[in-house]
Subunit: 322 residues, 6 copies
Amino acid sequence: MRELKSITKDDLNQEVTFIALLIDVKIKSTKTGGKYADLTVQDAGSKQLLKLWDVAEEDWLQRPKDDFPVIEVNALVGEYQGKLQLTAKNIRQVDKDSIDMKKLVPSSKWNFDQMRQWLEEFRDRIQTDPIKSLINEMVFQEPYYEKFCTYPAAKSVHHNFRHGILQHTLEVLKYCVVVATTKRLNQRQVDRLIAMAFLHDWAKIIEYEPLPSNKISDEGKMLGHIFIGSHHVMNKIELLEGFDREDALIILNGILGHHGALEWGSPVLPKSVEAQILHQADKLSGDVESILSFMQEQEESRETFTDRLWNMGTDYYKGGIS
Amino acid sequence: MRELKSITKDDLNQEVTFIALLIDVKIKSTKTGGKYADLTVQDAGSKQLLKLWDVAEEDWLQRPKDDFPVIEVNALVGEYQGKLQLTAKNIRQVDKDSIDMKKLVPSSKWNFDQMRQWLEEFRDRIQTDPIKSLINEMVFQEPYYEKFCTYPAAKSVHHNFRHGILQHTLEVLKYCVVVATTKRLNQRQVDRLIAMAFLHDWAKIIEYEPLPSNKISDEGKMLGHIFIGSHHVMNKIELLEGFDREDALIILNGILGHHGALEWGSPVLPKSVEAQILHQADKLSGDVESILSFMQEQEESRETFTDRLWNMGTDYYKGGIS
Amino acid sequence: MRELKSITKDDLNQEVTFIALLIDVKIKSTKTGGKYADLTVQDAGSKQLLKLWDVAEEDWLQRPKDDFPVIEVNALVGEYQGKLQLTAKNIRQVDKDSIDMKKLVPSSKWNFDQMRQWLEEFRDRIQTDPIKSLINEMVFQEPYYEKFCTYPAAKSVHHNFRHGILQHTLEVLKYCVVVATTKRLNQRQVDRLIAMAFLHDWAKIIEYEPLPSNKISDEGKMLGHIFIGSHHVMNKIELLEGFDREDALIILNGILGHHGALEWGSPVLPKSVEAQILHQADKLSGDVESILSFMQEQEESRETFTDRLWNMGTDYYKGGIS
Amino acid sequence: MRELKSITKDDLNQEVTFIALLIDVKIKSTKTGGKYADLTVQDAGSKQLLKLWDVAEEDWLQRPKDDFPVIEVNALVGEYQGKLQLTAKNIRQVDKDSIDMKKLVPSSKWNFDQMRQWLEEFRDRIQTDPIKSLINEMVFQEPYYEKFCTYPAAKSVHHNFRHGILQHTLEVLKYCVVVATTKRLNQRQVDRLIAMAFLHDWAKIIEYEPLPSNKISDEGKMLGHIFIGSHHVMNKIELLEGFDREDALIILNGILGHHGALEWGSPVLPKSVEAQILHQADKLSGDVESILSFMQEQEESRETFTDRLWNMGTDYYKGGIS
Amino acid sequence: MRELKSITKDDLNQEVTFIALLIDVKIKSTKTGGKYADLTVQDAGSKQLLKLWDVAEEDWLQRPKDDFPVIEVNALVGEYQGKLQLTAKNIRQVDKDSIDMKKLVPSSKWNFDQMRQWLEEFRDRIQTDPIKSLINEMVFQEPYYEKFCTYPAAKSVHHNFRHGILQHTLEVLKYCVVVATTKRLNQRQVDRLIAMAFLHDWAKIIEYEPLPSNKISDEGKMLGHIFIGSHHVMNKIELLEGFDREDALIILNGILGHHGALEWGSPVLPKSVEAQILHQADKLSGDVESILSFMQEQEESRETFTDRLWNMGTDYYKGGIS
Amino acid sequence: MRELKSITKDDLNQEVTFIALLIDVKIKSTKTGGKYADLTVQDAGSKQLLKLWDVAEEDWLQRPKDDFPVIEVNALVGEYQGKLQLTAKNIRQVDKDSIDMKKLVPSSKWNFDQMRQWLEEFRDRIQTDPIKSLINEMVFQEPYYEKFCTYPAAKSVHHNFRHGILQHTLEVLKYCVVVATTKRLNQRQVDRLIAMAFLHDWAKIIEYEPLPSNKISDEGKMLGHIFIGSHHVMNKIELLEGFDREDALIILNGILGHHGALEWGSPVLPKSVEAQILHQADKLSGDVESILSFMQEQEESRETFTDRLWNMGTDYYKGGIS
């Protein structure tokens, strides 16, 4: 079995066998009424296009596209316009339970155990007990903890991989704490800021469906993670004894306001310095990751500039990288 | 005792006595170190400026401006630049408990009993039981019902008077039902639309402080009525048996989306035809009321156009009214 | 002869015959120099794609696309990617005069006689004689009346069907009158508001070419229905005896301002409460119709949300409809 | 009799007498109930503030502010904060008929006879007879010609003086013809462009009231000069024999589109190269004049930059002028 | 040898031979693994698509697309969808040194010698010696003069042809001088305005690569012609004796500000009347040229309106041109 | 001598003597022709209003307001509307040379020696020699070093105090380095990022006049610190041997792009991940400081929210601070 990224031009005109997720199917037809398909397949390290000529009556290719079957593929390695092109010779569906799905879904490059340890260290910086309890119950307990550590933080653009919320939250926590220290916020402000950073994207465990789907749930589309998260946090706060009312208002405003502007989906503006720091730390984490992953994707092309990265509104210079 | 609006140029150079709320105090000083004050006083029918020369040590004039004392005023009626000007000769504070506050706060011109009856009629058009229960428990029960029937719907601009939420909700309900009927929505859509219309500004009973304050509460500023309302409705729905999940998503999205655009403070867009109707009915009710009350305020001036009404971005033609 | 919407998967692999308008032709070529065509055909109830292999020297397929020939088609019913696909076996052009064109053009679902009766009822609510004369001469007389009752109200998006202006005008009239009643406008205001509502889109009978073309005329593109309508109304008013000058200014401003904002093509803003009501009633009618017709179009797809509806800037939830 | 601009610090502590228009009155009161007034007076060359202490019962000071009485003033020349300040000792109203109003209203610095000659020369460049007739009848005949040669082109900002439309139209004509020549437009295009330039602000003779009022008429506010002008031109064109339909559409579109963008009040965009040239020539004339007149106004201040010129959104550097 | 624009339907089914630049190659593949290519070729007068079936191992077709080989083509003239279609029978690469490249690149229609003479005349209107020296050294000396006279002024849209900077600069100079004369600027202002006009797009000789590439250089993309030009001019000014400091600030501000608004890439706004004139003259030259060249391109189509011209945001009326 | 912030209500009705900068003078007049003045005075710790009744012929009060005389004041402490009010009894001008100006100008709260040490440490993290030389010559050498360490970073809003550039640069450096480390940029990227951070606001030593003026220089207003800084850096880079061209382009683009968007005054967008990090670190430093200093200013007021902070577009919650 080969990993997709191990297949190179050294394999030209040879056959390879690999296991992958089938994540997109486009069926096309020829004049003579025949059908062929452009498949997109993926494992943890790479995506690849796969031609399938003469599509037969394989029902499973017609299934709803959110189903993501696991397939074993035998394919011929060719080349087209200077790029590798695989042509399927045989495809068979594989039982998902027999497969370690981690091998088929891209994942954070950061060490998972290290990330969980860091997460605990940030929690332990909180000195206000009710705020610490809030984080313990919202993040470090099931049924939340596993999802929080596993889900992606976005549908595309940035941190859209396994452990995405976890890595993104750690980045945001780090940036927030550095600003708090530099600007000498007091401990109560720091505690609120850490809590907000932990919770700002928490509701993405409800807004998204589990990987490999990466689809937004109905609840996510209709209500959004900003409302869902604030709603759960407000309910949890009301159950915690001794939670200061002003802390509650500031933390909830921070979650509601973390997109930083009404037109970006926050129903209220950040009304505390903590909330403004959170917003900018969140934007910094997302934007920088989106540029880095985009430049890596486009490393191979011969141009000196990347294509336009839509969420940043510009292309990037590839000179001076290596 | 005189009502403020009964004082006219027929009273020139005479003394009048009236009871009013003191809603604003601006203290100014003269070169010789003396102080005088520009007071704003109000009763149910009108607002009036009141000059107070030689401000003494009346402590209560220095109190936080949100306190709104009730005062009995003896004043001389004068004229300045063609407008009435009252000059205080004597002011004394009156015990609030001895006064019927309704006489001092502007109120809806619609008949209160009639409005409550209409409100029940709209509720009774709902045929889906769990939705009807939602409205009964959120609107027609205490501790909500009295506030819902009493609070203003805005700080300024439109429906910023006693029974404001009630009148505005009735207007929105009426417009929504007419559109639903004209466009032949089915009963389930109608039920959801009526529920949304009932609940869209419900949380203003939390966002505002009680009249005569008309101030936004801390919770209102930090979280906003859109979040607060959706939060309470979601909690209530979860307690109601048999509430359809799709109805819940559509009703909550309707409340979250009723401002119609992210930049107007909705964290998600209206995602159903009901939600879009609600948004436009809400806007229609607010805008039309704000134009009508503004034109009435400016009726007296000699210009053929009003001043610019800031929320509508234009002035209005006063020709052809009478 | 079959109606297009009656053709279903029950007809698979069989031949069907139908009459339709040919509304679009895309000719494509194959490597071997052959040509085929993707045709779009339409009757009153549906649109359908039609493959035509081996396009010969049929001149009429090359004609200007605004000509819309009527064709009789004999086709084989197939399936492609889960959708019906018709493949033409024989196409012949049909004399337009031999056909009832109403069967080939989509039309309002409202009863035509009922609509005309309603239109008269709204006119009869006007109590100011010169205003009533204005409506009689601009709407209820030829050469206007037939066009007013027949033309579509838009090129796409909403009310873009036979009787479109008529249905849209009735919706706007209804919404306007409800608001006027609720907000207790006086009779003179109601008269002006009804007149504006009648006339706001009147000039679309000049801006558009007759169905089935649905094309904007040169005059329409260069001058727009807002100017053209106001121009004709102003000329008509000057011919009517006793037309009040203030009524004239308000009605003309209402027509000029009915798009509600400069950036939407109104050269002046609405300067009366009537004009603002008209603008919002117009928007309500257009937006709601566009959502409803779009959701109906997309009823069949298996997704829980529609595609993005461009004029509304969002997709719509399909849950909870049936 | 002195002209206002001839009064300088050389006159300090002396009395001066002058005739001026009274264009603004602000009455203020003192604690003791007395009244004083800040008057603004103007003659052809300058504006000046004038203090009037102890305002008595002069009725004419209370009149509607659009009346603009002519007054003869005897005043004491003082200084305040480094600026001249006049204090009225005596004011008497003067019969308007006894005064040459030209001396009291600012006027174009260009020679009037020269301007009229240039206007004829531009007309005579038109070689298409019906277009030339259009200009002759709309501009060079009464009741239009005198107003066209006299009215200001704006309420403020630019060309807001006697002969303003005339001077502005000549500037626009000149810029248009230079562009047309440089870019080698054909004669028919040149004829249309000259016609548009003549007519684009023509309706300001209806939109404004006559000087010295400089007020916008009710018709102007409700309908705007863009609609009014296009309406009159369209009616005139229909009376002219042999007027080419395409010329008519382009000229009307040019007038409707001369603000260049919907958000600037044009209901349609410029749809011909002539219309785009007209828009930019119009903007160039207006903007450059507004900067020059503003810099001249602010010449005296000691700052190296002017204040912010609101319509241009910036301040201007005064270095390097002399 | 044929020029491309000389090939018409009169040549149908015949073979033609021509020399052209190969400016784009799109390789496509067929099901059977074969390859074909859509080539774009160009000479001074026209662009043309060229089909190449059965692409072999011609390495030079795979080269970086910025290389622009010169090719001699033997092709069959066909027709497809009413348009000419050339199918290559033989292609061979030609040595660039053997070819007069002017014949393969589009060029200004203005006479080159005339343009250079005009350029000198504008320079000679400058009466301030250091400013004249600045223009002499920046424009009329090598290594700048040849590039200034040869480079295009844009990548697309307007003046994107040989001698583009030269023609565009002359247009801008002409418009600037007419405005300066009309508005009676003083000689020092005129001198600065002429200098700015000469220099505003000067740095496009660095921002662009030489024709036929028409590509933006790395330096151009990273720094932009606004910064690069101002930087070089500032350095040059510091070397010139007696250059007035205020002139320097105004000229540099004019270059920095010539896009007229921050959002169009000027880091500072125009702060002098000269700078505002320059900005508008620049926009006028660019916009008018873009409309004229676009309308010429679309002359042949049968529609009465052009397509939408993206930089102007609208389509154009083709009536009344001939 | 008292410091201004030491004067409290404990001093009521007593006389105090202090030395301060006179930073604003507003002269007003009374009806009787007398003059009084509202003065604003400042020392390092506070600003204070000061009434001066009966302004005599003190010439120095009329001087250009940028002169900022040092004054010794003897004043009576009073109270007005609950706030301290000082009334001058005697004012005399003091020779600036006899005063330690540091005591009269607000200054960074960070330790100055510590800041300079940190600055060196950041420089020493650079490992690319030519980049390090650039920083040494642009920052650590005179005539730049003293200004870089002394000037404010803004005219208002944030870091508008002595050592403002220094403190702001250190904040930006810190945030940049944390992001670079977290996201594992390579050493060359880190070196460029540190260089950009050092240089991004460098040109404010030219854009501003020295404290206490805090005025923008003519060069600053006409050219802006973005151009001026990039210009000097580009000239310096050209003098440095071995400076990599790609590093130069990225560093210059980073300085040009550090405002992050065209509409915020950057003529090009950030085209590298380093440049985007710099932009966001810059914004974070400025915004957070502006909120903190604004909240501190408004600490005393009795409201639960601050006024609106104009650059952030919102007010801030004062609950939960202490």
